[in-house]
């Protein structure tokens, strides 16, 4: 369970998050949506400890995460851009990440699922963007953690891999994992998300299921209801 109280973050004069409160219960896929600059990435990075808030409290499983790092052992993160040390091979990278985390991993089925065997002994610098993203996904899913945070997971994936990713997400969902996803692909949200968290101007503007959102806006299309949410704000 994630609990965020009165979270504030400024970058210089620019306020990105303002008095944000949020509770996320265990289990389910949560899509974090919002227009550009609404604070999605900042929120996620606060959770990860990569951005240090000016004010507020974040706790994960009832323990504060600020100035703490052990909690990250129960969290997997898929960054938006994957850039790895150029001169390591894929298998060396896997070994390294395994080495850095004290828990057990299960990478073999994932390698198979994403057809990565031919690349295992290639240097990372020689991989294409899509293959890098697959390696990125592999590194995220090979550990068994309660919380998964995915930042634009679909970037650069071919349709087959995209299906594999969706399957993978469903499996994790069924295991009762908490999964946070940011994305701009609405069809992906519609298909996968149990709940939508909509951020606007540094605060939560809407939190609820897909149906609740449609009901609130009165539009039977996710993409359009989101657009409606944004436009209302600026009228």
């Amino acid at each position: 369970m994630i609990e965020i109280n009165n979270l504030n973050k400024k970058f210089g004069k620019l306020t990105v998050l303002e008095n944000l409160d949020l509770k996320i219960k265990d289990g389910g896929v949560f899509a974090i949506l919002g227009p550009n600059g609404s604070g999605k990435t900042t929120l996620i990075k606060c959770l990860l400890g990569m951005v240090i808030p000016n004010m507020g409290e974040i706790s994960f499983d009832s323990k504060s995460i600020l100035n703490n790092w052990e909690y990250r052992n129960n969290l997997n993160y898929l960054p938006q851009i994957a850039n790895f040390p150029n001169n390591l091979t894929v298998s060396e990278l896997i070994k390294m990440v395994k080495n850095l985390r004290p828990k057990d991993s299960d990478e073999a089925p994932l390698i198979k699922r994403f057809n990565l065997e031919p690349f295992l002994n290639k240097k990372l610098v020689s991989l294409s963007g899509g293959t890098k993203q697959k390696v990125n996904i592999l590194l995220t899913f090979m550990f068994d953690s309660d919380l998964l945070i995915l930042d634009e997971p679909t970037t650069g994936l071919d349709p087959i891999s995209l299906i594999s990713l969706k399957d993978l997400l469903r499996e994790e969902q069924q295991k009762g994992k908490t999964i946070l996803i940011t994305t701009h692909i609405m069809s992906f949200v519609e298909e996968m998300a149990d709940e939508i968290i909509f951020l606007l101007d540094g605060n939560i503007y809407f939190k609820g299921t897909n149906e609740e959102l449609k009901k609130q806006t009165g539009i039977d299309n996710l993409e359009k209801s989101i657009a409606e949410l944004i436009s209302k704000q600026y009228v």
Partner: protein, 260 residues
Amino acid sequence: MFKIFKYSTYDLLRSRWSYVYFSFYLILGFVLLFLNSDVSKAVITIMNIIVILTPLIAIIFGVMYYYNTKEFTELLLAQPIKRSKILIGQYLGLSVSLSLSLIVGLGIPFAVYGLFMSMVIFDFFLLLVVGGFLNFIFVALAFIITLYNENRIKGFGYAILVWLLLAVVYDGVFMIILIIFKEYPLDTFSLVVTMLNPIDLSRILILLELDISVLLGYTGAVFKKFFGTGMGMLSSLTVMFVWLIIPILLMIRKFNKKDF
């Protein structure tokens, strides 16, 4: 920390740039020794190169490395590792691999030409120590610059500026001040100002070895004490350590507070 150090060293030791840097020193060593087969002259030339070029290469490499590994650093930040350990691991990885390139690159030609049986072994050893120090100091400065500047162009600009300031401009201003105020006793002042710049400090450390006879020609009592006794070497090395520790501490402090 050690794991990250291990992997970044491993990564760097296989990078093209390390080889370029390594072969630069290797070729330099061989060319210098081949051209005049006079080890002492080669040591003097290498001193000039180490004091000037090592900082430049270290600061440029540092900036480049940091920007190139930024995303990977972010990936590491999401792992259950303490922040400062990530930074120190990468910092040590880069500094150590640069220093290794320097030591091995210069060591091979000198060993081949029989340095280890000649009298200049101590001078050479001192050069490598100073080169190592400069690597560590300027990589730390590079990291500080990049931590404050997300913009790559700006980062590179500042790096070159810092190098230019410390390597050339500083000494120019220093000399002009000495000439203007020559009526006043300046020996303490000049020693302090020298210590405040790591490049000048390394130069003095090497001068203590190579040019002691001229340094003793100056009449000031402070100079005499500094250059004439072991005090010079001792205090220079101490200040060198301070120069190493302060940038590292600043770097860690900034890194711990930084938003990625």
